[in-house]
C-alpha cells in the first residue's frame, strides 16, 4: 500500500500542478534519443542565464527545459534567442507546487523518460570527477554501464571575500570570479530511514546563519542527475528522489563517482531576492531560512573565514573528501 501510495501520489500531484503550466517556448521536437536534458525552475534569474546555459552546454547538456514562475525581468526575451531551450510559464504558487517539485515531476515524466536528466537551479553548477576532460555524456555512459541510475552530489556554498553586497555579479560572468571561496570542512552526514537518503548539512550556511541551531541548517545532499523513468519522482526539492535506491550514493560493493554542486547564492543579487521572498513567503518553512539570511546581510556579515578555501578544480574536492572518483579510471 505504501509503495502504491508513493508511486501514485506524486504522479497525481504532478499531473494536477502540471496543468497550471502553459508552454511559452516549445523546442522539444529537437530532443534526440539519448540526449541529456536539464530541468530548472526559476523566477527572475535572467542575469544568470547566459553563463548557466554556456556552462552546461560545454558539459554536454543538449536541451534545457525551464519552468518560468512569472518572471518579470525579460526572461523570455533572453531565452528565446536559444534554440536548445523550452519554457513553460506559470503564475501559480511555488509553495503550493511543493517548491516547484510537482512542476518538475510533471515535465520530467513528460520529456525526461529514458533520458539522463539534470535538475538544477540557475545558481547551481555541477562539478564531477574529470569534468575538465570528460563530458557528462561520458559520465552517464559509465553509470549506464555500471547499471547505476543516479548520481549523488553535495552542494558547496560559495562566497566572496567581503560581505554579500560586495559580491556584485555581471551578466555573462563566471560566478567563480566573484565567489571563489567555500568551506572545506564542517560537513555532517546522517542516513535517514524514510527514503534512505544521506542527509548532509554543513558549510557556510550552518556556520554563519545557523551557528546556534546547526541542526536546522538546510540539507546539502542533492541527487541532480537521474536516468528518468515514468514513475520516478522528486520528493523534497532535488534532495530526495523516489524510489529509494536512487538516493544511494554508491554501488553496493564499491564507491561510485559523486559530484559537487557549486552553489552561488551569496551574490549581491541575494538581497533583493531575500527581500522579495520574505514578502511572498513562498519558500520552505514560511521563508524562515530567508529571514536568517536577510538578518545576516543587513548586519554586513562577512562569510569569509581563515579556514575558507579557494576553489581550484574537481581534484581539490576529491582531495578534501567532498567528492569521490569511485573506480572510474
Amino acid at each position: 500500500m505504501k509503495t502504491i501510495g508513493r508511486v501514485a501520489v506524486p504522479i497525481m500531484q504532478a499531473h494536477r500542478h502540471g496543468k497550471t503550466l502553459t508552454p511559452a517556448l516549445d523546442n522539444t521536437d529537437a530532443i534526440k534519443p539519448g540526449a541529456i536534458l536539464a530541468f530548472s525552475v526559476l523566477r527572475n534569474e535572467t542575469i544568470r542565464l547566459p553563463y548557466f546555459l554556456d556552462y552546461y552546454r560545454k558539459l554536454g547538456v543538449n536541451h534545457f527545459i525551464f519552468v518560468d514562475n512569472d518572471s518579470n525581468d525579460g526572461f523570455m526575451d533572453e531565452v528565446s534567442k536559444h534554440q536548445d531551450c523550452s519554457v513553460w510559464h506559470t503564475q501559480a504558487s511555488y509553495k503550493a507546487a511543493k517548491y516547484g517539485v510537482h512542476w518538475l515531476n510533471y515535465l520530467l515524466k513528460k520529456y525526461g523518460r529514458g533520458h539522463w536528466c539534470l535538475t538544477v537551479d540557475p545558481d547551481e553548477f555541477l562539478v564531477f570527477p574529470y569534468c575538465d576532460s570528460r563530458t557528462l555524456l561520458e559520465l552517464t555512459a559509465y553509470l549506464d554501464q555500471e547499471q547505476k541510475e543516479s548520481f549523488f552530489s553535495i552542494m558547496l556554498d560559495m562566497y566572496g571575500a567581503g560581505t554579500v553586497d560586495d559580491a556584485v555579479y555581471q551578466k555573462d560572468q563566471d560566478p567563480l570570479a566573484v565567489c571563489p571561496w567555500f568551506d572545506a570542512t564542517g560537513y555532517y552526514q546522517d542516513k535517514r530511514p524514510n527514503f534512505n537518503e544521506w542527509w548532509v548539512r554543513g558549510g557556510v550556511r550552518r556556520r554563519v546563519f545557523f551557528a546556534d541551531q546547526p541542526w536546522h541548517a538546510p540539507a546539502l545532499n542533492k541527487t541532480v542527475l537521474v536516468k528518468w523513468h515514468w514513475y520516478y519522482a522528486y520528493v523534497a526539492s532535488t534532495h530526495i528522489v523516489w524510489p529509494n535506491r536512487l538516493n544511494r550514493p554508491h554501488f553496493q560493493d564499491t564507491l561510485a563517482p559523486t559530484g559537487c554542486l557549486l552553489h552561488f547564492k551569496y551574490l549581491s543579487l541575494f538581497r533583493d531576492k531575500a527581500n522579495e521572498e520574505m514578502e511572498r513567503k513562498e519558500h520552505y518553512a514560511d521563508s524562515r531560512e530567508y529571514q536568517r539570511y536577510l538578518e545576516g546581510i543587513n548586519n554586513k556579515t562577512v562569510l569569509w573565514n581563515k579556514a575558507s578555501v579557494r576553489f581550484q578544480s574537481w581534484r581539490q574536492c576529491v582531495d578534501l573528501g567532498l567528492m569521490t572518483v569511485g573506480r572510474w579510471f
Binding site: R134, L137, E138, A141, T254
Partner: protein, 517 residues
C-alpha cells in the same frame, strides 16, 4: 609488407571513418563490417566523406545483424575475411580491429615490428585448464553446454537452459581433435593462417558446434588457430592494448588518458570513448611527430591503474567519503588515520601543570576540556579552529567526532590531544576508548577511601574511583593499551609527567603512513 585491416563497427560512424583515414595511407586494404542493426548507411557516408584515394582502400562486406556474445559476431568476422580473400593480391597479415579502436603507433612502425617477427600469429590463445583468462562469469560452461538464448535480453531463459543441461548432465564435445582455447577477440594473423581458418570454418560440424556456444568470438579463432598453426608460431599477446575491469568490462579511455596510453607497448588501443576527440588528436600528433615509432616487445604497464583501483575501492585512506559510513556513531573518526591522545582524568585532578608541561614540547599540543561546557576550551585563541568559534558550542555538539577530526586535520604537523574529565556526559568518552587512533592516559585518584579525620567512608573518592575503573575495564575489554598515572593529593608527580612526555614524544615520532591521491 601489405596488410589487411578488418574493422567491426556498429556505431559512431565519424570515429570509424577517422580510423579508416588513419589506416589508408599506404597500400593496405580495409574491410569494414557495419552492423546490420544500424539504420545508418556507412557505405554512403564513406562515399561522401572519404577522398577518392582513400575510397580505393576501403571495402564493405556483407552485413550481419550482430548480437553481443552470440555467433553473429564470428559470422560477421568471417564475412569480412571472405571479402579480404576476394581482394586482389596476397596479404602478409590480417589485423582485426573494432570501430572504437585507435592507433597508438603508426602503421609504418607496426610493419617494422611485424617484419621483425615473421610468421608469428598475434592472438591470445589461453588454455582454460591452465590459466584463468575469463575475469568473471562462465568459463567452461561457455562451450560445454548449448546456449540458445541471449544473456542480455533473455537472462532467465539463459540461466534456466544452462541449469537444466547441468542437471541432466548434458555435455558437449568439441568436433574433431579440437582443443578449446580462450583469448581476446582481437588479433593479427598471417594471410596463410587466415586462409586455413577460413577453410576449416566451412566445415558444418565446427560451425554448428560454435553456433550455440556462449561468446564464441573469444573462442572460435583462438581454437582454430591453435589447431592449424604450429605452437611455436603463436605469440599469445595481441597487438591491441585492452584491459578488463573486475566485472569483465573493457576499460574505456578518455581525453585525460594520453600519458597512460603512451606507457603501453602496443600498436592499437581498445576502446576509446566516442567523445575522446582530443585524445585522438593527441595520438595523431604523436604519430605525426614520430612517423616510425615502434615497440621492441608487446607489454602492458599498469603501474598507474593498479594502485588507483586498490585505493579507490574503499576510498582514500585518511580521507572523508561522502555517503558511505558504516558506523554513523563514529562520524569522521571512522576514516581518520591520524593518531591523537586523550587524557581521561577525574574532576579534581590538577591538570594545568601537566598541560603546560606538555605544551612546551615541540610538535605536541594538548587542549583543555574540549567536549564539555558552554565554551570550547581551546586554551589559547591561536589554537582555536576558525570554523568552530569557542562561544558556539552548538557547532561542536552537532557531531563531536567530526569536530575532533577537523581539529586534528587543521594542525597536521602536530600531535594533538585533549583532556576529558570523567564523566563527560556525552558519547566522546566512550568513542575514544574504541578508536584505534586514540592513545589513552588515565589520571587516577589515590585510593583514600578511609581518611582518619573525615567521614567514615570517603564517598566522593569511592565514586570517582568507580567511574575511572569502569572506563579502565571498558578499555581493557576493547583491548586498548593505556597509561595509568596515580595522583597524590590531586597532584601528578613530576616523574609521571616525565614518563608521559617520553611516551608522547615516541608517539609523535612514530611513522605515520603518508596518503596521497
Amino acid at each position: 609488407m601489405r596488410l589487411a585491416f578488418v574493422i567491426l563497427a556498429h556505431n559512431d560512424p565519424d570515429n570509424v571513418l577517422r580510423l579508416v583515414k588513419k589506416l589508408s595511407t599506404q597500400d593496405d586494404q580495409i574491410v569494414i563490417h557495419w552492423d546490420k542493426n544500424s539504420r545508418l548507411d556507412l557505405q554512403a557516408l564513406a562515399q561522401t566523406t572519404l577522398t577518392h584515394e582513400q575510397k580505393a582502400h576501403v571495402h564493405f562486406c556483407r552485413r550481419v545483424a550482430v548480437a553481443w556474445g552470440r555467433w553473429s559476431v564470428v559470422e560477421a568476422t568471417l564475412a569480412a575475411l571472405k571479402k579480404v580473400q576476394s581482394l586482389d593480391g596476397a596479404f602478409d597479415y590480417v589485423v582485426l580491429l573494432s570501430g572504437s579502436d585507435y592507433l597508438l603507433r603508426p602503421v609504418t612502425g607496426l610493419k617494422a615490428f611485424l617484419s621483425r617477427h615473421p610468421g608469428k600469429e598475434f592472438i591470445e590463445c589461453v588454455d582454460p585448464e591452465q590459466t584463468p583468462w575469463v575475469v568473471k562469469g562462465l568459463v567452461k560452461e561457455r562451450f560445454l553446454h548449448h546456449h540458445w538464448f541471449s544473456w542480455r535480453n533473455q537472462r532467465l531463459l539463459f540461466d534456466w537452459s544452462l541449469a537444466t543441461q547441468k542437471k541432466l548432465g548434458l555435455k558437449r564435445k568439441l568436433p574433431g581433435n579440437l582443443k578449446p582455447y580462450f583469448g581476446s577477440q582481437w588479433w593479427a594473423l598471417t594471410g596463410a593462417t587466415v586462409q586455413k581458418v577460413l577453410m576449416l570454418s566451412q566445415k558444418g560440424t565446427i560451425r554448428r558446434f560454435f553456433q550455440s556456444t556462449w561468446v564464441p568470438d573469444e573462442m572460435f579463432f583462438q581454437t582454430l588457430v591453435a589447431a592449424v598453426a604450429p605452437q611455436e608460431s603463436i605469440h599469445t599477446v595481441n597487438l591491441t592494448f585492452y584491459h578488463f575491469d573486475h566485472t569483465g568490462k573493457p576499460l574505456l579511455f578518455y581525453n585525460d588518458h594520453f600519458n597512460f596510453l603512451q606507457q603501453q607497448n602496443f600498436f592499437f588501443v581498445r576502446k576509446l570513448s566516442c567523445q575522446a576527440h582530443l585524445l585522438r588528436d593527441k595520438l595523431d600528433h604523436f604519430m605525426a611527430d614520430n612517423p616510425t615509432a615502434s615497440v621492441a616487445y608487446l607489454a602492458k604497464n599498469m603501474d598507474e591503474y593498479n594502485p588507483f583501483i586498490a585505493v579507490q575501492w574503499r576510498g582514500i585512506p585518511n580521507r572523508r567519503v561522502m555517503g558511505r559510513q558504516t558506523d554513523a556513531w563514529y562520524g569522521d573518526l571512522e576514516w581518520n588515520k591520524t593518531p591523537y591522545f586523550v587524557i581521561l582524568a577525574y574532576p579534581q585532578a590538577q591538570l594545568q601543570p601537566l598541560i603546560d608541561e606538555l605544551n612546551t614540547l615541540p610538535g605536541i599540543h594538548c587542549f583543555g576540556d574540549l567536549f564539555i561546557g558552554d565554551r570550547i576550551e581551546y586554551g589559547s585563541q591561536e589554537w582555536a579552529h576558525p570554523l568552530y568559534p569557542a562561544d558556539k558550542p552548538a557547532l561542536r555538539d552537532m557531531k563531536r567526532p567530526n569536530f575532533l577530526v577537523d581539529l586534528i586535520k587543521a594542525h597536521p604537523e602536530h600531535l594533538l590531544g585533549c583532556v576529558m574529565r570523567l564523566p563527560v556526559g556525552n558519547e566522546m568518552e566512550r568513542i575514544v576508548l574504541y578508536d584505534p587512533q586514540a592513545s589513552i592516559v588515565f589520571i587516577l585518584p589515590e585510593d583514600a577511601y578511609l581518611p582518619e579525620d573525615q567521614h567514615p567512608l570517603n564517598w566522593q573518592c569511592a565514586f570517582q574511583n568507580m567511574i575511572m575503573h569502569d572506563h579502565i575495564n571498558e578499555a581493557r575489554q576493547a583491548n586498548k593499551p593505556f597509561l595509568a598515572i596515580n595522583t597524590r593529593g590531586h597532584v601528578i608527580a613530576h616523574e609521571s609527567i616525565v614518563r608521559l612526555k617520553h611516551t608522547l614524544l615516541a608517539l609523535r615520532d612514530s611513522p605515520v603512513t603518508p596518503t596521497t591521491f
